[in-house]
Symmetry: C2
Subunit: 235 residues, 2 copies
DNA sequence: TAGATTGTTAATCGATTAACAATC
DNA sequence: TAGATTGTTAATCGATTAACAATC
């Protein structure tokens, strides 16, 4: 009994409504499944590649072979975005590409703040691919006084004290967390209180957020563990 | 084969595990799944946290609440690693932590090469968390002559021409790809021919590999697209 | 013991794959 | 048209959740 109540008390202090590991529950309102959604960027890349190589149409069988999945899966995925192919011909590369840009919102600008200007944070700030998908890291924050004022990709590293002003002023919805794990929940709370709706979490901390906020966990160490386990056990 | 090489791997994992724990319940490792495997690192973190805070046992209900999943799920996951809890008490934090270290191979050293010493590659090379899980990035390669000889985290950036020698000499099994996407398949082929068995792919290229090679796709742009789509659609 | 918690079978839910009709 | 390919329903597979017996 003692152990149980202590555990519960401890838990209450650090967590109430944890984000789901799979993120599944949050997405259940959408008619598109998470596995499908995660495949869509790959379809997008394939359309670009085939278009570049002069193909006007691509069949579900060809896409399926590229990705090592079933061709029925491909047709269902595409149908779930609302795009319609041409029987006997396939899917129009340019049309479907543009449809995906629209469906995924790739052409809409997304302003984000990044907290934690360490190695990973700086690398993400400089990552060239994000701009293609509308992501703009507008402000970078760090709590280390020695870093304040330094520039990363032409953006000045700001002190945490200016977080509130910047996020509110620009009504920023996206935050990228690359700071130390033990500070993650506090910063997350602050960001949520300022109106942030999406947290891309690179720390290995589990974050408590309200139901209307999304957390996407990008736990690199956990990914490596999964990969290495598979390899080691196969030997 | 790409992502699906991971799933296919389970079939072979099963026989390996079965031999190791054949004296235990049949139920244990026959049903280990990718979703379960991906949750295990989180259980590991929770065990560490609770141990640090003086708890000798944790119940599946507490773990489940932490992660926002069902407590039956937790018990099934734990059973699938072969660890056995104590009815009426819970799971021993230290024991289960050590069991996971063993099961996941966290204490085994894994030597890796990293190809592409750009911002992301350098950040990963300096990432402090990996060492905790046995990952050591032994060599860094880049094809830019201006980068050759520079040091990242005390490791010299080597030319691509020395890839063969280094990988073969140390029988390196792991490769981390952070170079430009359009070179990824070529480098991948080269690495596979040199004996690499695991590819941690940070490019947005979809890689074809033989059945005995694992590819783990860490496509950050695709992850962001997924996240942003969910946020935009929820508005 | 009584009661809390694990371990396990059964039921449900959801994603993938198979089959085939619809289409041009 | 004939044949290729899409769109969609049905079947299968697998993961999650519910229920409850086993345990200490």
């Amino acid at each position: 009994m003692g152990t149980y109540t202590l555990e519960e008390a401890f838990l209450e202090n650090i967590s109430k409504h944890r984000a789901k590991i799979s993120n599944k529950e949050k997405y259940s309102l959408d008619h598109i499944s998470l596995p499908t959604l995660r495949r869509l960027p790959y379809y997008y890349n394939i359309m670009i590649t085939f278009e570049k190589n002069g193909f006007k149409y691509v069949s579900s069988a060809v896409i399926a072979k590229q990705l090592g999945i079933d061709d029925t899966q491909v047709r269902k995925d595409i149908a779930s975005t609302g795009y319609i192919g041409k029987p006997k011909v396939g899917f129009n590369t340019v049309e479907f590409k543009e449809h995906l840009e629209d469906f995924l919102g790739l052409k809409e600008k997304k302003e984000a703040v990044l907290v934690g200007a360490g190695n990973l944070g700086q690398a993400l700030t400089r990552f060239p691919g994000f701009a293609n998908y509308g992501l703009n890291i507008s402000f970078i924050f760090d709590q280390d006084p020695n870093k304040i004022g330094q520039k990363v990709n032409n953006k000045e590293i700001l002190p945490m004290t200016s977080l509130e002003l910047k996020v509110k002023k620009k009504s920023i919805q996206y935050a990228i967390l690359t700071m130390r794990s033990d500070e993650a929940q506090n910063i997350c709370n602050k960001l949520v209180s300022l109106g942030v709706k999406a947290i891309w979490n690179f720390t290995d901390s589990y974050l408590e957020v309200p139901d209307d906020v999304f957390v996407w966990n990008e736990n690199l160490a956990a990914s490596f563990i999964t990969l290495s386990h598979l390899v080691e056990r196969k030997k």
